[in-house]
């Protein structure tokens, strides 16, 4: 089926489609990814903090039933396959966006699928922190909120950035999947042209673009995580 993928007429057809459809698709993919990540972080970051701070020995202990409930909800949301979740949350999507079709609509299931994942990533970042540092802050009279905002989060920034990079690249993969059910972007192009109309070259280009975006996100994320980490000795201070 791939035999004459590079035949001249296929190539020129692909170029046409590329020029007409790709700029919008690329834009849709990027904004669905970024917006979903943003919403997911807004929900997942506080949740992840609660999971750590709210423990029995944490800085802001929560009643144990609250913590248990949070954990169960997160686990349930994380175990539902994304495609099923998209269908399940259609009523929510309609209520929030007015429609269940289109890129904006896909942001709702994407955010819902990603925030429990982000909560777990934040939890693991915060657990890496040396507990002695928290105790030291307590010995200086820090309040629980001061410990969270002045110690736990700032000290975890490099690890949080690494983990958010993992999240954004994963969400990018999900946006492509959301193309199957009404979402826009590169995923939709790949499905529509590649799967339904056998234009494999177009599909290939869409996939290659997705790969390139993942590479870029990962490179930027790694760069920031390293650059912002003041524990790394080789980065000498410039006066």
């Amino acid at each position: 089926m791939f035999t004459n993928m590079f035949a001249p007429e296929k190539v020129s057809e692909a170029v046409d489609i590329f020029l007409s459809d790709f700029p919008l698709a690329l834009w849709e993919t990027l904004y669905a990814t970024v917006l979903s990540t943003l919403f997911a972080v807004l929900l997942g970051l506080p949740l992840g903090i609660l999971l750590v701070a709210g423990e029995k020995n944490g800085v802001l202990p929560l009643p144990s039933w609250v913590l248990k409930t949070l954990n169960v909800v997160i686990n349930i949301l994380r175990s539902i396959p994304f495609l099923i979740l998209m269908i399940l949350v259609i009523p929510v999507t309609r209520a929030l966006v007015g429609t269940s079709i289109g890129t904006m609509a896909s942001v709702v299931p994407l955010s819902i699928a990603a925030f429990p994942f982000i909560a777990r990533l934040v939890e693991s970042s915060l657990r890496e922190l040396n507990p002695n540092i928290i105790e030291t802050a307590q010995s200086m009279g820090a309040s629980p909120l001061q410990i969270i905002f002045k110690v736990m989060i700032p000290e975890s920034v490099p690890s949080l950035i690494s983990n958010f990079t993992i999240a954004i690249t994963t969400i990018l993969g999900y946006t492509a999947m959301s193309g199957i059910i009404g979402g826009g972007g590169l995923g939709k192009i790949a499905i529509n042209y590649g799967y339904y109309r056998y234009k494999y070259l177009v599909m290939m280009v869409a996939v290659i673009l997705l790969v390139v975006i993942v590479q870029v996100f990962q490179a930027v994320g790694t760069y920031l995580a390293v650059k912002l980490d003041k524990r790394i000795k080789t980065r000498r201070h410039h006066q």
Binding site: N130, E135, S139, G141, L228, K230, I232
Partner: protein, 345 residues
């Protein structure tokens, strides 16, 4: 003044209850550099953490300047902690903040305005001798420098008490000596009461005026440093003072004066030192007890030397022996103890 009254602390673990502290009674006067020494697991850290309620005692009271710390509400306890600060073996600096901002941190917690906090932090960098490290990050500093920054941070809120939990245990002998000097200096200049937790006798001998020996959660012995080290009474104290021969308390001859010489990583070897003193100063010391070890290129341990009862000779010997780095000398004749404290030795 810090009073610990009938202080007990037990930890409940899955399979047992650990009595880390059992009915501790201690009084620490303002201006003291008070040593708490004991073997690993004796309960030293637990004790010091009870003083600022990082560990809530199971029973008993901690009273600081008449205030019962256990009765304070959360807010009042946070305020108290600004006046009773702590330094640790692992320094525990914020790794993502530079040194200046680490020192500013407790002031930030106390909502001190930015400009005042900055000025104070710069002053403190000066006090701890690292004025050029304001913008450096902790990972760029040596252990000793990090502990200096931690000390500056602990001083930021003008505390009246400084708690040191094994503050020098991660440092080499020379750096240990420098940090202890700094702590002594702070104690004198800022009249801050210091509580020093350690498992090293040399640390207590170098800076403390009083010492409590903690053994298995109880105070085995308490008193001035010279008292306790010159004539240890409890088994635990003897084990610390004469690590190699717990039973034999050396006896000085009638009319003999004794000097304890503590080697804390000094570069000289011990026997030539005594021989050298005999040649240079014409003082013949009677070696009553010696327990020294060579670790790396430093000598550790202590020695008890007997001298004729002559102030001039004893003074000369003290001066001669103290000249070496990493050597602390103290007179151990009981009636001399109070004088020694006043002279600020």
């Amino acid at each position: 003044m810090i009073e610990l009254r009938h202080l007990s602390k037990s930890f409940k673990t899955a399979d047992a209850t650990v009595d880390a502290l059992k009915d501790i009674n201690l009084t620490i006067h303002s201006g003291d550099i008070y040593g708490i020494i004991g073997m690993s697991g004796a309960g030293k850290s637990t004790l010091v953490r009870c003083i600022n309620m990082l560990e809530v005692p199971t029973e008993g009271d901690v009273i600081i300047d008449g205030v019962n710390v256990g009765e304070l509400d959360t807010k009042a306890l946070r305020d108290l902690r600004r006046g009773v600060t702590m330094i640790f073996q692992g320094f525990n600096l914020l790794m993502q903040r530079n040194c200046l901002d680490n020192i500013i941190f407790p002031l930030e917690l106390a909502h001190v305005d930015k400009e005042t906090a900055r000025k104070r932090a710069l002053e403190l960098l000066e006090i701890v001798g690292l004025p050029d490290k304001a913008q450096a990050y902790p990972s760029q500093l040596s252990g000793g420098q990090q502990q200096r920054i931690a000390i500056a941070r602990a001083l930021a809120t003008d505390p009246k008490v400084l708690l040191c939990d094994e503050a020098t245990s991660a440092l080499d002998p020379k750096t240990t000596h420098q940090i202890l000097e700094l702590i002594r200096d702070i104690n004198r200049r800022l009249s801050i009461t210091v509580i020093v937790i350690t498992h090293q006798m040399s640390v207590v001998e170098e800076i403390c005026n009083r010492v409590a020996i903690l053994d298995d959660g109880t105070v085995a012995e308490e008193g001035t440093v010279s008292e306790v080290f010159a004539s240890p009474k409890s088994e635990a104290a003897k084990r610390l003072v004469y690590p190699d021969s717990a039973e034999s308390t050396p006896a000085a001859r009638e009319g003999e004066r004794t000097l304890r010489v503590v080697f804390n990583g000094s570069a000289v070897t011990t026997s030539p030192l005594i021989a050298q003193m005999a040649m240079d100063e014409h003082i013949a010391a009677n070696i009553l007890y010696a327990s020294t070890r060579t670790i790396g290129d430093g000598v550790y341990g202590n020695m008890l030397l007997g001298f004729p009862d002559d102030d001039e000779i004893v003074a000369r010997a003290t001066k001669y022996l103290t000249a070496g780095t990493g050597i602390v000398v103290m007179e151990t004749r009981p009636e001399e103890q109070e004088n020694r404290k006043e002279k600020g030795e």
